[in-house]
């Protein structure tokens, strides 16, 4: 029970911290760094390594913090992320069944694409169909491209870190197993 409460507290702290960093820090950075969305990358990693349930709990906190801070229609971030993560989970479960770097990369691309399309569409709907749909603008595709690029870069980095980590400890564990 205590362990479970501890896990929930950690999830809440991580989600709130990432939301604050994503909301205040990265958009004020210059160049391509302003398109880095750490919360979304962590969300895809949670989906890939832990499953849909935990990623939806993460969205409930992370998305709501963004919705509270933002001036957009309340709930827009949470809904977009939740639907995008469900789409990514469905494809991951039915078509991309092995857990490799390529699968993680594909998940990132599917999620990024779905999330941005949903966000642009909902923003257009909730603003009462005023103005132009963001999908028809170059800035939308630029954001999408840079977000996907950062996601893929994070995936490659993480995979290399994991490979390094396991290569370092594999002999130790094997040796222990043989001596036992």
């Amino acid at each position: 029970m205590i362990q479970r409460i501890g896990k929930i507290i950690i999830l809440i702290i991580v989600a709130i911290s990432l939301a604050l960093i994503q909301f205040s820090f990265f958009p004020s950075l210059p160049g391509l760094a302003q398109y880095f969305y750490p919360g979304l990358i962590v969300l895809i990693f949670i989906l890939f390594f832990s499953g849909l349930k935990l990623s939806l709990y993460f969205i409930l906190i992370f998305g709501l913090v963004l919705d509270i801070l933002s001036f957009q229609f309340f709930g827009i971030y949470t809904i977009s992320m939740a639907v995008a993560v469900i789409i990514a989970a469905f494809i991951l479960q039915n078509f991309l069944t092995n857990k490799s770097l390529y699968t993680l990369g594909a998940t990132i691309l599917i999620f990024t694409f779905s999330y941005n399309i949903l966000l642009a569409s909902l923003d257009f709907i909730f603003s009462g169909f005023v103005g132009t749909l963001a999908i028809s603008q170059l800035s939308f595709w630029k954001t999408l491209l840079y977000q996907a690029m950062w996601g893929l870069l994070a995936a490659v980095s993480l995979f290399h870190l994991l490979v390094l980590w396991f290569n370092r400890f594999k002999p130790f564990f094997l040796e222990n197993k043989e001596t036992m």
């Binding site: 604050l20 004020s28 957009q72 642009a120 800035s139």
Partner: protein, 268 residues
């Protein structure tokens, strides 16, 4: 009938819908306000760090151009010294006239200081994003109020207000319009609108009005919420076609809006 369900999907959807409902009937507002107050210093610091990184990045890029700029400015400074002497004389005369006519002083308005906590705009680049400040309706702010930089230059106006935060559109953002006038002989009036997050365009200027490069653009006071005489920028280009009813001017903002961390909102 007892409802027995431990399905996590149902719980998640119900919790989310409940929160959305509570938000729209304003029950959640005290919690949101408290949350915003709690994270305000963190958000402000995070934004400042990002802004400082951005500033140092820009500084590095601009260093080379600065050497040439310094030489140019030194020459300009010499001519400004002469101008300053003339202006001081005019200012003294102006002050006397204002006193006589019982004009309100330039600073006859209240200001509310606010920290910039974020930049927001779905699918827009950094220059085109709106600013979010940590003051809202609880501090007496309302839409259409002018927002100044630390140096007293107009950076934008408030477009949306919540209890503890406000959204500001920058004068360089498209759709951010202000009633402005030129500090020339005729006090030419027009409407300013942002262009691509980089410059400002002054429109609806009658063809017969004479505009010169370098003219200072200030708020005209036609808007009830914005006092007149607040500096916006200087004219860098004039676009005039003989077959058009209006002419327009390109205004260069005096300040770099990327590094704003502290602003003041003018309450007339």
């Amino acid at each position: 009938m007892k409802i027995k369900t431990k399905n996590p999907w149902v719980i998640l959807v119900v919790v989310f819908l409940l929160l959305v409902l509570l938000h729209f009937i304003n029950v959640l507002q005290p919690v949101e306000r408290l949350f915003f107050k709690a994270i305000k210093p963190i958000s402000s610091d995070l934004y400042s760090w990002g802004s400082n990184i951005s500033a140092s990045h820009e500084e590095k890029q601009e260093r080379e151009g600065l050497v040439i700029e310094i030489e140019k400015l030194k020459k300009e400074l010499a001519s400004f010294v002469i101008d300053k002497a003339n202006y001081q004389e005019i200012e003294a005369e102006n002050k006397k006239l204002k006193d006589q006519l019982e004009f309100v002083s330039n600073h006859d308005f209240n200001t509310v200081l606010a920290n910039v906590v974020a930049k927001e705009g779905i699918f827009s680049s950094s220059e085109r994003r709106d600013l979010i400040i940590d003051r809202g309706s609880n501090s007496g702010l309302r839409p259409e109020l002018a927002v100044l930089s630390e140096d007293g230059i107009v950076v934008g106006k408030i477009v949306e207000v919540l209890a503890e935060s406000s959204r500001i559109c920058l004068t360089t953002s498209s759709g951010c319009q202000l009633a402005v006038s030129l500090q020339n002989k005729n006090q030419t009036q027009g409407l300013s609108d942002g262009r691509l997050g980089l410059t400002i365009e002054m429109n609806y200027i009658p063809q017969l009005e004479k505009i010169d490069k370098g003219d200072i653009v200030v708020t005209s006071g036609l808007s009830a919420e914005i006092p007149r005489g607040l500096i916006i920028g200087t004219v860098t280009d004039v676009r005039s076609e003989s077959n058009e009813v209006w002419q327009s001017a390109v205004i260069e903002p005096i300040l770099n809006f990327n590094n704003l961390t502290l602003v003041s909102v003018v309450i007339p």
